[in-house]
Every structure is written in structure tokens, then in C-alpha cells.
Amino acid sequence: MITKNAPRFTLADWLPKLVMAPTVVVTLVCMYGYMIWTGVLSLTNSRMLPSYDFVGLSQYERLFNNDRWLVALANLGLFGGLFIGICLCLGVILAIFLDQKIRNEGAIRTIYLYPMAISFIVTGTAWKWLLNPTNGLEKMMIDLGFEQFTFDWLVNPDKVVYCLVIAAVWQASGFIMALFLAGLRGVDGDLIKAAQLDGAGTFTTYRRIVLPSLKPVFFSALVILAHIAIKSFDLVAALTNGGPGYSSDLPANFMYAHTFTRSQIGLGSASAIVMLGCVLAILIPYLYSELRGQRHD
């Protein structure tokens, strides 16, 4: 099939590197270079335009004295915690339920997963309508006879973050279910049979054998969900726009507002670097354990 082509053979030495070159350049410049650039800007007093008057860590000091940032961080903690926790629980339970030789499993799985194909902007728009206090869920419940029913979370500064959680769980939980389902299919069947021959009940089998063997899936799901939570920007933009006031801001929205609309590039850059720090704090232990795991194989 393949014709002899002697001169090509010598090209083979540099051709692969040449092919990779654009990607290498782009990665080094547009990922790592820009990361450093943003880091440098976070040490300057840049406002509307980048300037290079270095002011040490004072932008970070301002950041952590900024009430809006502290609210955004607290929101991320609450939103992230609930979002991750609920998605993991729902995901593993639904996956176990769906793994019981269910008829039409494919169709049900398709339904659970479809929100993942949709943009967070669409999700936000839909839930903004569903949760709006005048015509949405509240009115429906009142018309159904629950006259005292109130549901004003979307306009209540103390509750608005839960609206973000509801929409985000709706979007991502099916995907986590799919991850766990794939994990369940990979559990060693002989191990389960052996446990049952030993007289272990269904519940015990799951608790002692199946769930522990899902640990790697669990960690991957955790990292993915944390990553989604930290990057969450579009959902807030569409569902609450950070409001009421700035009560539902997340760090990504803070960063965008300060860098692009409030002419506080230095402060915005500092917030971006803190976000990067959050991601790395999760990513590095994960990659470390992954790599260690591979070495054991």
C-alpha cells in the first residue's frame, strides 16, 4: 500500500515538531504567558488601561476588604458545596437505580442527560421564568389551592443562591449520573457474585463492594463539578445578573464586572489570580493522585 519515498524519511525528523509548533507557541503564549501577564497586572494599579506602576500586593488587600468580593466568595462556597453535594448524591443514586436492568434504560438516560447539551444561558433564561415570583411556580401553587404558598427566592437576597443551585443541578446532575453509570458497568462482576455467595445482602454488597470501587469516578466527578462551580459565570449572568444588588455574584462575575465594565483592571486581575489559585488547589492533588495511581499499575 505504502510507496517507498526515501527523501521523506529524513523529513520525518523535524516534521512532527513543525506540526506541533503552532500549538506549542499558542499554549505557551496564550495560556501560560497570559496567566503570568494577568499575575503581573494584579500587582499594578491598572484601572481602565493596563499600566505598570507596581503597587505590591495592595490589590489583593483591597480585594479581601471588598464586601462584594467577600459575598462572591461566600456564595461560591455555598453554591459550590450544595451543587457538588447534590449532584454527587443524585448522580450515584440515579445511576444505581438505572443499573437494575431497566427497560428503556437508553431513553431514560437520554432524558436525564439532555440539559447538559444546552447552554447555561438558556438554562438561566428558562429558570428565570419558572422561578419568577409573579407568574411562575408561586402562582401555579396558589392556583392549585395552596393559597399561602410563597416562593420569592429569586428576589430574596438570602435565598437567591439556592436558585442558582437548582438550575445548575438540573443541568449537570444527569451527566454525573452517566459518569457513575459507566463506573458501575466497570465493577468486577465476579466480586459481586462472590460477596453474594458469602451471603451478603444487596445493601451490604453495594456499601462494601460497589461504592468503594467507584472511588475514582467519585473523585473525577468531584473535580469536574468543582471546576464547573468555580468557572460559573453564564448561569449567574442569565438567571440573576448578580442581583438583587450583588447578593448572587460569583467570583467569575466579579472579575468580569471589574475588569471590563468598572475599569478596575488591577483588582479584576487579582480576583482572576485567586480563582486560578482555587482551581489549582483542587487540581494539583487530583493530578498527583492520578499520576501516582498510574505508576502503581
Binding site: I2, P16, M20, M35, M116, A182, I192, A238, Y256, L276
Partner: protein, 296 residues
């Protein structure tokens, strides 16, 4: 947790049957809950404003009124213009099609090099690229905005194509590299001994095996780029906005009363391209998600 199928004792069959019914009830109720928001969007988009005001979320429209769809498509206001979301739909396609093609081609070539033509430092570079999949894009937004300005492609669809290619390569490379890693390297070694060159081997041996991973990558990239909002809002100009940005503007632009039916029609239209891809090729969609998620 009821693994009924594992229970074999006959006296338990009554219990087993009722557990089975409970299981199906739970699974189907949850399915209904997942479907409900979309169903309500659809119902709402087919009502007129008066019916939305008087009825509830679930009350069905008395007549099927498609006027909200027409308005969302061609005359709803998105910020300062009132041409509906149609022009932005075109923008999204102008961004998505070239960005998907370029990033997939580059990803395939990179994956081929990183699995079959490893060189000194290539593994370290791959690790560096992998970390790039995870960085929050907030750390690159401002420098990228400056760069696009210097390159003279700020606020253009070409600028957005460039950005999506740059930050899509990490994923596409990962997909192809992991896929090609499973191809026996003897195949390539034998071809090299026969004197076949880099591109010949790629075209004759590797590419014919690549169909599944090409489909996965295209679907992944299409979904990611179509659904993007951050880059769209940060780097697009007024008339080059992608549909997600236009939808958000449409929903937040209100002259007089809020027209939820138009909002919902526009939202469904913005979601339709990726939903259609998902329904037609769900298998590949899921494979992309899990491949992107669980790193090899």
C-alpha cells in the same frame, strides 16, 4: 438501593415486584422533572401575553400561537437593534464552523504526533496542555482582549474563531492523543520501515481509523463553542455577537411589558442546534463528555 434482579428466592417475589414498581415510579418521576422545564418553555412560547398573565405555568395554550416564535426570530429587540435573533444565529454559525474544523484538524495532527512521533519533551508538553484544559478563562481574558486588538481582529467573528481555536486545541489534542495511544505502534513502525512519511502514514493508516474520535471531537467542540457565553460577551462587537449573548440581551431588554413567550421561543431556538446534535448522536456526545472528564 434495591438490586432486585439479584434476588432469587421465590417467596420474595411479591416484595420484588412491588420494589420493581417503586423503582420504575422513581425513575420515571425524575425523568418527568428533568423534562418539565423544557415542556414549560415550549408551552409558554405558544401562548400569547394575556394567557401567560392569567394562566399558570402548566396551563395549556387555548390556541397554538406561533407569533412569539416569529417575533423572537426576526423582530424582537436585543439591546439596541430589533431584528430578532436571526442575525446572531448566523454569527454563531460563522464562528462555530471554522473554529470546529480548525481545532479538530490541529487536534488530530497533535494527537498523532504526541502518540506516534514522540520527541524529547513531548510528554511534558502534553502535561502542560492538559493543565490548560482546566485553567479558569478569567486569567486570560484581558491579555487576550489586548492581543485581539493588536491583531486587528477585536470585535470580529474571526477574532472569536481564533479564541475558540486557541482554547479548544487542548481538548481536541487530548481526545485524539488518547484515542491514538490505543493504536498499536507496530503499525506505524512497520510503515516507517517501508519508507512511508509522516503525512502518508497519517492519511493512509491513522485517518481511516479515526472516524469515531472525529465525530466525538466535532460534537464536543460544536457544543462547547455554540454554548459559549464568556468569550462571546468579552470579545464580540455589536453586530458580531453569538446567539447566546443576543439571547441574554433579548431577555434583559424590555420595553413595556415582559414578553415571556418571546423569551422562551428565543431560548428554545438558541438551544435547538446542540439539542438536535445530542438527540441524533447522543452516544458520541456522552463519549466526549466522559473522555473530556476522565483523563487517560
Amino acid at each position: 438501593m434495591t438490586n432486585v434482579s439479584l434476588s432469587t428466592r421465590p417467596q420474595k417475589s411479591m416484595v420484588a415486584t412491588s420494589l420493581r414498581i417503586a423503582l420504575y415510579t422513581v425513575l420515571l418521576s425524575v425523568a418527568a422533572l428533568y423534562l418539565l422545564p423544557f415542556a414549560i418553555m415550549l408551552i409558554t412560547s405558544l401562548k400569547d401575553v394575556e394567557e401567560i398573565r392569567t394562566g399558570t405555568l402548566l396551563s395549556l395554550p387555548s390556541t397554538l400561537d406561533f407569533s412569539a416564535w416569529g417575533k423572537a426570530w426576526s423582530s424582537a429587540c436585543t439591546g439596541s437593534t430589533c431584528d430578532g435573533i436571526a442575525p446572531f444565529f448566523t454569527n454563531s454559525f460563522q464562528i462555530v464552523v471554522p473554529a470546529v474544523i480548525i481545532s479538530t484538524v490541529l487536534g488530530a495532527l497533535n494527537g498523532y504526533v504526541l502518540s506516534m512521533w514522540k520527541f524529547r519533551g513531548s510528554e511534558i508538553f502534553f502535561a502542560a496542555l492538559l493543565i490548560g484544559c482546566f485553567i479558569p478563562f478569567q486569567v486570560i481574558l484581558l491579555p487576550m482582549a489586548r492581543t485581539l486588538g493588536w491583531l486587528g481582529i477585536a470585535n470580529t467573528t474571526s477574532g472569536l474563531v481564533f479564541v475558540h481555536v486557541v482554547y479548544g486545541i487542548a481538548f481536541t489534542t487530548l481526545f485524539f492523543r488518547n484515542f491514538y495511544q490505543a493504536i498499536p505502534s507496530e503499525l506505524v513502525k512497520a510503515a516507517r520501515l517501508d519508507g512511508a512519511g509522516f503525512f502518508t502514514i497519517f492519511r493512509r493508516i491513522i485517518l481511516p481509523l479515526s472516524t469515531p474520535i472525529i465525530v466525538v471531537t466535532i460534537i464536543w467542540q460544536f457544543t462547547q463553542i455554540w454554548n459559549d457565553f464568556l468569550f462571546g460577551v468579552a470579545f464580540s462587537g455589536f453586530d458580531t455577537q453569538p446567539v447566546t449573548v443576543a439571547l441574554n440581551n433579548l431577555v434583559n431588554t424590555s420595553f413595556g411589558g415582559k414578553e415571556y413567550n418571546v423569551d422562551m421561543a428565543a431560548a428554545i431556538m438558541a438551544a435547538l442546534p446542540t439539542l438536535i446534535v445530542y438527540v441524533l448522536a447522543g452516544k458520541y456526545f456522552v463519549r466526549g463528555l466522559t473522555a473530556g472528564a476522565v483523563k487517560g
